[in-house]
């Protein structure tokens, strides 16, 4: 066996998507196959994770073209962790949508596109070439466009237009940035670019290029001045689609930022300062927006923006501890945000609305489900010892080390705003007396669904809540993992050596 097995997750998802395309109208076959493929994909990701954990960074050169000339695929510990997380979220969403999505939406190829989306994400996490990263980005956004517009309701189309236009703009900017990189260094391999950018005299141009990347990835990950498309579009598609978007798409932007700003534009102080300012404003605007809204989908949309701020904050401080906090937060956030939108989907299915003024009495009617839903909600706030708590501790500690006291203030403020939002949500949705909701005649509600469908909706929430609890209570393992990731990110020489020096192992 050669190193080329590291692209197995990508190829597997590609094959899965293609096979599902052959069963175009046979929805029940697609459901079973999709869950099966997602489970197998998760198995492959776990295997790859263990392989890299044991052997260190693995590299393969596609087409056998040697490193700076061909496209390298690099499986470092950060990349495979993201692959693992995307597989987990993909499995959860695949099960959830098999239970909850309406038939007329599934008929237009939801499952094949879902697998192609996961393929794009995993490709982006494993590639070592900046232009290839762009290509995977495009695979992801084309799939997400299709998922967003499936069904074609009025609201959905309107949200999709905003999402599509902003993403097209971001892609153009990303492409311009790549053009600059190529003009400056004559290379596209990220490891090679890192070396060549380092020895460049004209630092001004490097800063400008990194600024373009910051804007391009900033639009995709919804940081402060560029976040308006997110709350306008994420609540419009069915909750299963929102779940995968919330968990993984904005985090792809964060991943790309972490990768480029540690490897290629490492330690640019000016950009770091800008990021800290943007982080503070992102936290503030996301938190305040969430307070204002009454629709659960929109509240969660603004909370995504708010917590993107925490991730940028860690990158802006740029110390080992801060990056570690960011990575920990990223791991926690992917699981929790996916779960959160599935919870909102379940509430929608039970009550037929997401307006928290009309909702109520969840705790009285469904005590066990409510307790289950409490886990992601309170993990998000970071009540110790749940998962969000640990990440914030590291971020605040890193802030104390770098004397960013204002930023610490914003992080604490963001946590309080989140707490306020969740407490309001809990009071309104779970504790308030239930109101008489007008029932839609054609709607299929949770109590009337078949037992299997009910379990298909509840199981992924149980699964992800379990993982959330593990991140909280088994925090020492996650800390170990994020420590190793931050060490690799802060000292990219190992990565560069592995890509250009062609180390091979025989697993």
């Amino acid at each position: 066996m050669s190193n080329s097995t590291i692209v197995l997750p990508i190829i597997f998802q590609f094959v899965a998507g293609t096979i599902l395309l052959f069963f175009w109208r046979k929805i029940s076959v697609q459901k079973v196959l999709s869950i099966l493929f997602s489970t197998l994909g998760l198995g492959i990701s776990v295997w790859l994770f263990l392989l890299v954990w044991e052997h260190g960074i693995l590299v393969t050169q596609s087409g056998d073209w040697k490193a700076p000339f061909g496209i390298s695929f690099v499986a470092d510990i950060f990349g495979v962790t993201m692959v693992l997380l995307s597989s987990i979220a993909g499995l959860a969403v695949s099960i959830f949508s098999a239970g909850s999505m309406r038939r007329e939406r599934l008929e237009f190829g939801f499952f094949p596109i879902l697998h192609l989306l996961i393929m794009g994400l995993q490709g982006a996490f494993l590639t070592g070439d900046i232009f290839n990263l762009y290509v995977w980005f495009e695979v992801v956004i084309i799939s997400s466009f299709v998922l967003l517009t499936l069904g074609g309701k009025k609201q959905q189309l309107e949200g999709a237009l905003k999402y599509v236009s902003l993403n097209l703009l971001a892609s153009s900017l990303f492409l311009i940035g790549i053009g600059f990189i190529y003009g400056l260094t004559g290379s596209l391999n990220m490891a090679d670019v890192a070396i060549k950018l380092d020895s460049l005299q004209n630092r001004g141009l490097v800063s400008v290029t990194s600024g373009i990347f910051l804007v391009a990835f900033g639009i995709k990950s919804a940081i402060f001045p560029m976040y308006f498309w997110l709350p306008a579009s994420y609540h419009t598609p069915p909750p299963a689609v929102s779940a995968i978007f919330a968990g993984l798409l904005t985090k792809l932007g964060i991943y790309a930022m972490l990768r480029t700003f540690t490897l290629m534009f490492g330690g640019d102080e000016f950009m770091g300062d800008i990021m800290v300012i943007l982080a503070a404003l992102t936290i503030l605007s996301g938190g305040l927006g969430a307070l204002l809204k009454q629709n659960m989908g929109k509240i969660f949309g603004y909370l995504i923006v708010c917590h993107i701020g925490f991730l940028i904050a860690g990158l802006g401080m740029y110390t080992e501890l801060a990056i570690m906090g960011t990575v920990f937060y990223l791991i926690h956030d992917i699981i929790v945000k996916t779960n959160l939108f599935m919870v909102s989907g379940l509430i929608l299915k039970i009550n037929g609305t997401q307006d928290i003024r009309q909702l109520g009495g969840m705790y009285k009617n469904y005590p066990l489900l409510s307790l289950l839903m409490a886990i992601p909600l309170f993990s998000l706030v970071g009540i110790p010892p749940l998962s969000g708590f640990w990440a914030k501790i590291f971020l605040i500690q890193a802030g104390l080390d770098t004397k960013e006291y204002v930023l610490i203030g914003f992080i604490v403020l963001g946590s309080f705003l989140t707490l306020w939002v969740i407490a309001r949500l809990w009071g309104e949705v779970f504790w308030k007396n239930s109101t008489d909701l007008p029932k839609k005649a054609d709607g299929l509600y949770f109590p009337q669904m078949s037992k299997i469908d009910q379990w298909l909706m509840v199981f992924p929430i149980v699964l992800l809540s379990g993982i959330s609890l593990y991140i909280g209570f088994g925090a020492e393992n996650i800390i170990l993992l994020s420590q190793r990731i931050s060490l690799e990110l802060m000292d990219p020489s190992g990565y560069i050596e592995a890509v250009l020096g062609l180390k091979t192992i025989n697993p």
Binding site: F131, Y134, V135, E138, I141, I142, F145, V146, T149, G152, K154, Q155, L157, E158, G159, A160, L161, K162, V164, S165, L168, L169, S171, S172, L173, L175, I176, I178, G179, F180, Y182, G183, G186, L188, F228, P231, A232, S233, H235, T236, L292, K293, Q294, N295, K298
Partner: protein, 117 residues
Amino acid sequence: MEILLIIIIGLLHAGGLYMLLRRSMFKMIIGLILLGNGANLLIFLLGRLVKGNPPVIEDGMKVFSDIYADPVPQALVLTAIVIGFGLQSFAIILIKRVYKVLNTDDLDELNSTDEEI
């Protein structure tokens, strides 16, 4: 030649941004297409323009003795064009659907997802 390309790229970007700032949905898509084309030409320019020297090593030589035209930017531009083709055709179908459902081309009227609380 470089100067000409730079002017064209600048015009494409300026025109694209101008179109993006209009209120019409249709003009917005045209603006995005212009921006995409500007970006493609930019890559082409930044890969250095060399005339009449294909990147082929002559017989008996091991390395390039002369300056040569870099093939990579062309591959990048081709890929970007193909991707842009897919994205833009999707966007055009989307605005057509939006126009049919909402019956307006004015971006200012597309605010129902933001407005209500």
